[in-house]
Chain length 432, copies 2
Amino acid sequence: MRIRFYNARILTMVDLTAPSIFTGEVWTEDEKILYCGPEDKAPQATGEETAIDCGGNLLMPGFKNAHTHSAMTFLRSNADDMPLGEWLNQQVFPFEAKLTAEDIGTLSKLAILEYLTSGITAVMEMYLTPPSIAEAFRSCGMRLVQVGGVNNFSQSPELLEEWYNELNGKDPLTSFELGFHAEYTCSEELIEKIAALARKYEAPVFVHVSETENEVQECIGRYGKTPVAFLADKGIFDFGGAGYHLVHTTEEDWQILKEKKIGVVTNPASNTKLASGIAPLADYLRLGIPVAIGTDGPASNNCLDMFREMFLATGLGKLREKDASAIPAYDVLKMATVNGAHIMQQPETDSLAAGKLADMIMIDLQQPNMQPLNNIANNLVYSGSKLNVLMTMVHGRILYERLDGIQRFHVGEEPADIYKDCARIRDRILGA
Amino acid sequence: MRIRFYNARILTMVDLTAPSIFTGEVWTEDEKILYCGPEDKAPQATGEETAIDCGGNLLMPGFKNAHTHSAMTFLRSNADDMPLGEWLNQQVFPFEAKLTAEDIGTLSKLAILEYLTSGITAVMEMYLTPPSIAEAFRSCGMRLVQVGGVNNFSQSPELLEEWYNELNGKDPLTSFELGFHAEYTCSEELIEKIAALARKYEAPVFVHVSETENEVQECIGRYGKTPVAFLADKGIFDFGGAGYHLVHTTEEDWQILKEKKIGVVTNPASNTKLASGIAPLADYLRLGIPVAIGTDGPASNNCLDMFREMFLATGLGKLREKDASAIPAYDVLKMATVNGAHIMQQPETDSLAAGKLADMIMIDLQQPNMQPLNNIANNLVYSGSKLNVLMTMVHGRILYERLDGIQRFHVGEEPADIYKDCARIRDRILGA
């Protein structure tokens, strides 16, 4: 199936030095981009392709949400304004223990609906039951990269290896990477077993690292090293990977990140709401350490909105540096698109170009928050909102659109039914 | 004209201790609320009133944007990622000098469109040409409280007094309060003249105070006092009023704010983007100092979105206090509604109750970011977005709605025409 998007402004994200936006067409054929360029060089329209008039609005690569726990939707707004420890131990762990694999699939679908409203076309997920999560994403048509969440209490290196072999190569939308929860929830022996898997498969590893000051101090107390140094010394990142959060890091940590080519996935809204701190993104950028952006889970954020994250990534960076020129907007756009795709091992979704996968969004420039069109890239980062998302296409399929004003999801189920299912699960677990 | 809103969840904001949300009806008659309560005590529907099925969605008071410079829309995204001084002196002042009064009215209308998409029903404005701004708001049907922006270079105490007398009492939507730009842009003599006007009219005064560390240090250098102490000693706040920003304040300042009943209008997105710092909101709350929220102008924010501001008000407070329990969500909702109305001298718009003015919004609870309905008040603060605003009513008139999915503004002009006018002004001033 061919779709011709015409009369569009196009931000390809191919040029990494500065945003170049031109007027033209994007053609998709099945899951791929067939053409992306000016109108006069576009394929000849035959009338057999579906034609979508973009009305001068913007096409760009979808946002990549590089860290989340989707199914935690059931806890959204259930326990806000609490200290982190109390929240985890009293409001999260006891309720998570009651979740079934099927619950987790259903709750993930609620998150998928919200991702789509925010122009997110792929997520990197860590949660309890990877097979049911993969099934939920597959059935919605949404792109998913899962990572293991091994810790002392759930999952195991054996299960991780099993999933790594079974959950890859099954379909073009979902994949699975090695991962574990965090240094502070895993024994040294467990971490060594995961490092052994990384060596065996020459594979990257993904893990929460240095989210809180307390976590760092405890690791230093245990091992005499920061979490970054400890995990790197264990060989966890010998084949790359990324750390989620990396809020509390030292200059020595930065050198390790740089040398081992470890990615940083920053989660600014979650770090803000949980009072964890502000990550040193300006330093990471200065050193050329790749940074991507995640929403973290809906229980700690509480929303799944890449526009909020983008504003915070630069805004908090400016506050930390006491410098309004820190972390320019286009660097943030790269984090939310290109860098996310690369850190998530999905380079074929990083930009709009012929041959790339058709993970693309349309942004409404005719909303008042985008006017006047002084600088579209900056508008996206500083002013963008879910109200600007007119379409979200994943793997060549339009999963969400408001092209004629009416909001429609094309994920195989009606949102109202997903809401009902989630409310039932919520009532069973939290009490009606 | 009567409108009956039925099948609604209702958050009145009358109860200041905790959110009480009930199912019922709101009836408006012309500019006022006729009834707000349960269905079984509502007036008898006669079929002559307009009936709107809220579908279980939420009615609540509109958000009050307590500090902005609306017409700065023309500079949106034109000069981001710059140090504050450079931004003001190279990118703001030279261009503002070219604006006509008519330009400012037109550019204000673009901001009004955006306010409406964010559920904002009233703004407190400080800008260059109050008469043309009042005319723009009046023509759109939007509620406006203006304050003078006197400084050494523009406006004057005489003009301020003239506007105070001429721009009040003309219509029910627009009013004018005493105000000046800031300590650092006004001579001591000028400030004394404004204090004299406050005494003469026994009126509150509104002014930028202690936005940056530098401003505070310079004031201490000039007068041996912080801006708060200096202005209070001059009698500026003898009849109340509020300070915009109040980021860099001392414990002595807090006591002055408390004793003189001076309101704080916090502008967290602007303070973030310009790297000004984080206001001590938790201390203000602890001391009972009233806090309201403003977006500041679109050149320094860059968007006009009360949802972003609400998340930042609590989030930045949590970061500053290193305490995830700081500044609970309902306190933020009060800031954005009740406190804003009171600081803006518009108590008749503070809540939903019979006899109050009908400044009301409808929030879509059937968006994925609001599900499940664990805690609607928290959902608004932590998850809300412009995509959730289904209707914005000001003074009993629906100025904006997406009730059937299609976005419609009812402000007397089409958005596309306002965009065109603003683009023309932008091109003339900034160069095409």
